[in-house]
Symmetry: C2
Subunit: 200 residues, 2 copies
Amino acid sequence: MAGRTGRRPGDTSTRDQILAAAREAFAEKGYDGASIRGIAAGAGVDPALVHHYFGTKDKLFLAGMNVPIDLDALVKQVLGAPRDEVGVRLVRAMVGVWDSPAGASAVAVLRSAMSNVEIARMMREFIVSQLLSRVIAGLGIDRAEAPLRTALVLSQVVGVAVTRHVLHLDPIASIDAEQLVAAIGPTVQRYLTGDVLPPR
Amino acid sequence: MAGRTGRRPGDTSTRDQILAAAREAFAEKGYDGASIRGIAAGAGVDPALVHHYFGTKDKLFLAGMNVPIDLDALVKQVLGAPRDEVGVRLVRAMVGVWDSPAGASAVAVLRSAMSNVEIARMMREFIVSQLLSRVIAGLGIDRAEAPLRTALVLSQVVGVAVTRHVLHLDPIASIDAEQLVAAIGPTVQRYLTGDVLPPR
C-alpha cells in the first residue's frame, strides 16, 4: 500500500486527481465494481488519502458526480417517519435533491445515463445499493420482494425527474414541491409497503 | 394548392420525401405547430397527396417516427374498459407498444428527447394531445384537473419505459408484461380518476 504518493497530501490538485480517477473508475466498472483501492492506484495516491479526503465510497461517488448531498442524513430522515408516511418522506427528499443546486448535476448524470449504458449502470447501482436498499432494509421488507419494490420506486422517481427536469412537462415542471409530494407520495408508499404483486 | 408536384404520385421516393419533410417539421415546430400543408410544401407535393398516403397528422407523425401503431384502436380499447379498469388497460396498451417491434423506435425517440429539447417537445405534445387528452376526455374528467392528471400518468409511464428499456433495471426490465400491469395499473388509475390533489 506504499503507493506513488509523489504529490503533497495538501495539494489541491491531489483532490482533483482523485476525483478524476473516481469518475473514470465508476463509469468504467460501475458503482459496485469500482474500489477505493483501485481509484487510489489510478490517481497515484495512497488509499488512506482517498479516505481522508472523501470518507466512504458513496461520498466519493457523490463528490465525483458533483452532487453534494448528505445521503446518511437523507436516509435517516426518510426512515424517521412512521411506516405509512415513508413514501411521502422519500418523495419529499428526492424532489428536494432534484430541485436543489446539486440537482442540476444529478439531472446531468441522468441525461448521460440515457445515452451511455456504463453511466446508466453506475447510476442504477448507486441508487439501488446506497439509497433504496437502505430504505428497504430499514423498513424490514421481505428480501424476495425487495428488488421489484425497489425498481417500481425507481420507475416513478426517475419518471418524475425526467418529466420535471428533462422534458419540462407542465404542470409537473412548475408545480410546488409539496403538491408533487401529495400526488406521488402514495404511489411510492404502495410500491414500498403495499400490494404490488398480481394475485395468484 | 397547386404545389410542385413534379414527381409521380406513385413514386416510392415521394412517400419518403414526405416522411423526411414531416420529421423535419415535427422536430422544428413541435407536434402542434407542424401542419400537413407545411409538410407538403417542404416535400414539394400537394397536401392532398400527404393525406392520400398517410391520412391524418397523427398517423403521419407515427409513420415518420417509424412507430406503426393504430392509435385509434388503442384509445378505443382503453376506453372500452369499465371506469375502474382504465388504468390497467392504459398500462397494458402502453407496455404492449413499448414491447412490440414498433417499441424500439419509440424508445429511440424517447432517448433522443432526453438530449434534444425540440424532440422532447414534439414527443410531449404528441402524447398529450393525441393519447392522454383523448383518454381524459373519454373519461369525462374535469378540465381544470386534466393537465395535472395527464402529467402524472406520463411521469409514471415514461418512468417505466426508461427503467425497462433504457436503464434496463431488473426486475422491471425482464418482468412479464402482466406483472407490470398489475403493479403499475393502480397507480395510473389513481392519477386518472383518484385523489391526487393535496387537501386544502
